[in-house]
Each structure stands twice: as C-alpha cells, then as structure tokens.
Subunit: 112 residues, 2 copies
DNA sequence: TTATATACATAGTTTTCTTATGTATATAAA
DNA sequence: TTTATATACATAAGAAAACTATGTATATAA
C-alpha cells in the first residue's frame, strides 16, 4: 500500500491533469479514476480531495456546475482558461521534480 | 527555481541515501552536496534539514559524533544498522511513488 | 568593518494530508 | 425490514513536513 502523504504535494497537479484529459469530472468520479489508474494503490479520500478542489476553484483554475442524477447532486469541475495554463506549468514542475528526485536518489545513470 | 515544498516528503529518503553512499556526513556538507548534485536548483535550508536529521536520529536510523575542524564544531551523522534497512525500504517506496506519479500524470507510455 | 561562508539550532507559521464525522439517496444483502 | 455498501457532497480537528525568520559563533575575503 502506498505510504500516503497522498502523493506528497502532487494532488493539485493530478486533479488538473485529469480535468485536462477528461474535460469535466465530479469529485467522486475523480476518486474512482485515481483508484482505477493506480490499480487500487492510491485511495484519494474526501478529506484530501474536496478541500483541494475548493482551493483550485478559489484560485480561479476550476469552475463548477451541478447536475442531478438519480436524485443525487453531482458537482462537476472544469478547467478555466487560467487553469489550462496552470496544468502546463504544474506538469513541467512535476517533470522537473521527478528528475531531480531520481538524480538525488541515484535512480538514473549520471549524465556526465 | 524549484518550487520547494522541499522535494515533497522525500527529504528523509534523500538524507538516508546520501549517508549510505558517503558513510558519514555533517549537516552543512549535506546541504552543499544536494546543491551540487541538483546543479543549484535545490537549496536545502537549515529549517528543513536539522529537524529532519534530529528526527532520523531519534528514530534510531542515524548516530552522531562531533569533531572540531578550524575551531568550528561539525556534527557527523552515520547510518545505524536499522538505518541501513530503512534506506532500502525508503528507496523502494520512492521508486513506487515515482512510478505512480508518472502513471497518474500520463508521463509514461501505458503498459497495456 | 562589513559581507560571505561555514556550522549548528530552534521558534512560529503555513500547507497538506489524515482521520473522524456529518448529511443524504440508492441498492444489494441478510 | 434492516443493515451494509456504494454513491455524493462537505467540514473539523489534529499531525507532519516544510518555510521563513532568527539566534549563536568562527573564519576569511572585500
């Protein structure tokens, strides 16, 4: 099982990337998608997800609309224009982060 | 410049790995080594480093001894036996973490 | 004498995540 | 019928990790 600290600061990036690839998603759907893609290893709990979504919305990266399906309310999230730019930025950051970590942990052959 | 959250929870792993590769190091030396290996991108600040070292020592993964060089005290850290096992465990964790992140962010070709 | 480098350390604050809890509906199982 | 599980949202309390700021002290270069 993954040592939580839920992907160590990468949650926002994961959410933004999922929304870039899927155009619109609701919270519960995101938790299931993460579970599916990670083959059950990563359980995105509500206590982590919803505050993160609310923050991204407050920061202007996401916009929302609600829809009722089977008498249950779904709150859909979509990238704003600013959010679209943010995905690119965060993805570059993530790529750089992974490379730095691999270098520091000697998980990559030295380039020189 | 790297968006700090200092390698997002990987600081302990980095320290342990450096100590595995170098047998013994003192705090300041670790900051310089990280700076060097990351080509100046990662500045490990004292506020992050020293508490991390103290915690690793309290957890029984590191042992210390001091030495005076040029009238300045250096506090050297070395892996304990338990620390040696911890490095292996943390490295596996880091490898899994990187793979999960790459999968979730679509930074790797799909395996199926 | 002032700034920078070396070398340690802690305090206060913020961010992020965890666990726990709460509301509510639908459906499958006992 | 009642209970558990799944779907769907949300917040509150607490812990962990990192940041910024500050403090002590010596050596050296400007």
């Amino acid at each position: 099982m993954s040592t939580n600290p839920l992907l160590k600061g990468s949650l926002q990036t994961i959410i933004l990337k999922l929304l870039e690839d899927n155009h619109q998603m609701y919270g519960y759907e995101i938790t299931q998608k993460v579970k599916e893609v990670s083959e059950g290893e990563i359980m995105l709990t509500e206590g982590a997800l919803y505050p993160a979504l609310h923050k991204l919305e407050a920061d202007g990266f996401l916009e929302t609309f609600t829809q009722v399906v089977d008498n249950r309310v779904r709150k859909y999230y979509r990238l704003t224009e600013q959010g679209g730019k943010e995905v690119t930025s965060k993805m570059n950051e993530a790529q750089a982060f992974i490379e730095q970590l691999q270098t520091l942990l000697n998980l990559k052959p030295t380039t020189k």
